[in-house]
């Protein structure tokens, strides 16, 4: 790790997926960092509305009509009137990496006042290994100025491939509705200069606002569930994808990182609206967390798709009794994989289940 080589642009290997319902003015601020890349815009809500994309960006845009046309009856798995629809963008992308960002997220500044190139940091995170089997107290050991600490076994220092890079937010933090109601004025001003691997066996709440992943590795697990119109729940799309993704990454021996980069989250959504959306989730997550903590994937689940289908079976078996919604969700998970495989027929990525390594 002696020299710091410049981060590759990966402009032909990465798509930026943006769900939107209003406009894409925020892209102007991101232009210096995003312009080289291809954008996939997933337009939620009224398909007759025209979304204006700022000039100079290379993009493809899908509205509900497009989703219905492309997926036919399988379009039922894609949420309507919820940013969860963004996962359609993952499915139609042909690139190796995805970066997804919300349209109320802007360029943040680091403590020295410099603009943060969030995309570059995500790429660095994805291109360098993760270390899920033993926690490094100096955080990311591959960063310049850092390394493994005393006691860290050398056999674990190569790390594993990184599947997900989860970024954070300055200004409006990603709180749930009850917390927002209690602390309406709280702003996240703490810049924590670290990236770390979330240990194997540990779950976390994955926020989709500032997220990048290796689509070729983990894409099929990034289904954002059934939310929004006609559904009893909202604001749990990314959570659901995150729990499934983490369980699968743990099983297949890939890493999930969290920490840098920060973006500036500008808009606080209405906490009362959020409460209505989240309400059921707040109760259901008490069942969901123990469920995901105890999911055991059999050894013959060697691909993401197989793992995902297995999880959907367990969702039906164990969560169906919590609410009928989970039966629908389990079916939608299967539909998602079928649609994914149809649109991405080049075959699944098999992973050798790592032997020996810990639990």
């Amino acid at each position: 790790m002696a020299t710091v080589s410049p981060t590759p642009l990966l402009k032909d290997e990465l798509d930026i997926v943006i769900p939107t319902i209003r406009n894409l003015d925020f892209l102007e601020m991101w232009r210096p960092f995003f312009q080289p890349y291809h954008l996939i815009i997933v337009q939620d809500g009224d398909p007759t509305k025209t979304i204006k994309v700022p000039e100079g960006f290379d993009y493809e845009l899908y509205n509900r009509n497009d989703i219905n046309r492309i997926l036919g009856p399988k379009a039922s798995c894609i949420s309507f009137k919820d940013s969860a629809c963004r996962c359609f963008g993952y499915m139609v992308s042909k690139k190796k990496y995805i970066y997804t960002i919300d349209d109320d997220c802007f360029v943040a500044k680091d403590p020295s006042g410099k603009d943060i190139n969030a995309l570059e940091q995500h790429i660095q995170n994805l291109l360098s290994p993760s270390t899920p089997f033993f926690f490094n107290t100096l955080y990311d050991p591959y960063r310049s100025g850092a390394d493994f600490v005393r006691g860290y076994p050398f056999s674990l220092r190569e790390g594993v491939p990184t599947a997900v890079s989860h970024g954070l937010w300055l200004n409006i933090p990603d709180y749930d509705a009850p917390t927002q109601l209690v602390k309406p004025l709280e702003r996240n001003t703490r810049y924590v200069d670290a990236i770390m691997t979330i240990p194997k066996g540990t779950l976390f709440p994955m926020c989709g606002m500032n997220l990048a992943f290796n689509r070729e590795l983990i894409g099929p697990a990034m289904y954002f569930g059934l939310m929004g119109d006609g559904q009893p729940i909202g604001r749990y799309d990314d959570m659901w994808a995150g729990w499934c993704t983490k369980v699968i990454c743990d099983h297949l021996g890939w890493g999930v990182k969290t920490g840098l980069p920060y973006i500036w989250h500008s808009k606080a959504s209405n906490p009362f609206v959020n409460l209505k959306k989240e309400y059921k989730g707040i109760y259901w997550q008490e069942e969901l967390i123990p469920f995901f903590q105890s999911v055991a994937l059999p050894k013959d689940c060697t691909t993401v798709q197989k793992c995902y289908i297995e999880i959907s079976k367990q969702v039906k078996a164990k969560l169906g009794k919590v609410d009928d919604y989970f039966n629908k969700l389990a079916d939608a998970m299967v539909t998602w994989i079928e649609a994914w495989d149809e649109l991405n027929p080049s075959g699944d990525i098999s992973a050798k289940i790592p032997n020996g390594a810990s639990k």
């Binding site: 390394d147 600490v149 709180y175 200069d193 926020c207 969290t258």
Partner: protein, 353 residues
Amino acid sequence: MSLAIKDDEVDIVIGALRSDLTIFMNEWRPMFSRFHVIIVKDPDLKEELKIPEGFNLDVYGKPDIDQVVGSSTSILFSGYSCRYFGYLVSRKKYIISVDDDCLPARDPKGFLVDAVAQHISNLTNPATPFFFNTLYDPYAEGADFVRGYPFSLRGGVKCALSCGLWLNLADHDAPTQALKARQRNSRYVDAVMTVPARSLIPISGINIAFEREAVGPALVPALKLAGEGKCRWETMEDIWSGLCVKIVCDHLGLGVKTGLPYIWRTDRGDPIASLKKEWEGVKLMEEVIPFFQSVRLPREATTVEECIIEVANAVKGRLGSMDPVFARAAKAMLDWVKLWQSVGSSSSRSSAV
């Protein structure tokens, strides 16, 4: 949100491997002076200790160690392990320990970091080992639990151990430091976080604090390298001890935190010279980590002492034949528990929860 603690609930325990502690104590004076300080002199150190005035102090040396511990124990309170004697004789609830070559650090704004206050804050605020909070410490000022964090887990559990970090000379092993001779840690990561349950971490003894009443017996002076020396690069005793603590905490539902506070670790020693000695430790870790990752404590082990006995027996059974250092470590752990029960806190601590 933290509990208010009284000054007389804290002991600062310093293992003196160097005789002249003048600069060390004077630099730490603003943070230490409120508290009782225990200094334990490395029995191998010949010179008299030089300690400045003005502290509420107890100093222990070889004669005291011999008197309390006797000669029938396999535990060696020498080198860095001398501090464990301080843990044994302390009667306070919380202990904070830093190496004697460390000084207070400054934060990015230039203010001196009160490592003692930060450790106390870490220990008196709950830990959250069962689910990772992406905004790190949810009890910190200006932070909270994020969306998706289950409400039933937001009460947290007791934090039994706080592991701090180091600016300047970070705690790298000898091969790493030898390779990156000029690398110094200048990155101040402004976060405290709970180490997730069932995740192991290398707990460096350079800058730690713990609740003695909760986990005291689990900090074991047990793993002594054949070539153990007077540089951290030549030891693994704290790493071993930390793994024991983490296993016990995971089993008993207690938390371990890592992150702030930083201390400033002064340059000392030569990693290349230490390389020869520490290589033994580096090789041992390859066996040690898989072992600890696979240790399962029985449900019947409900106290820290019972847990340590179980771990010691597992060490003897599974690692003992691999290297005599493990057989010795297992014996030392059992002796330590006996010693703790006779000399340490008179009431044995049950699991928190």
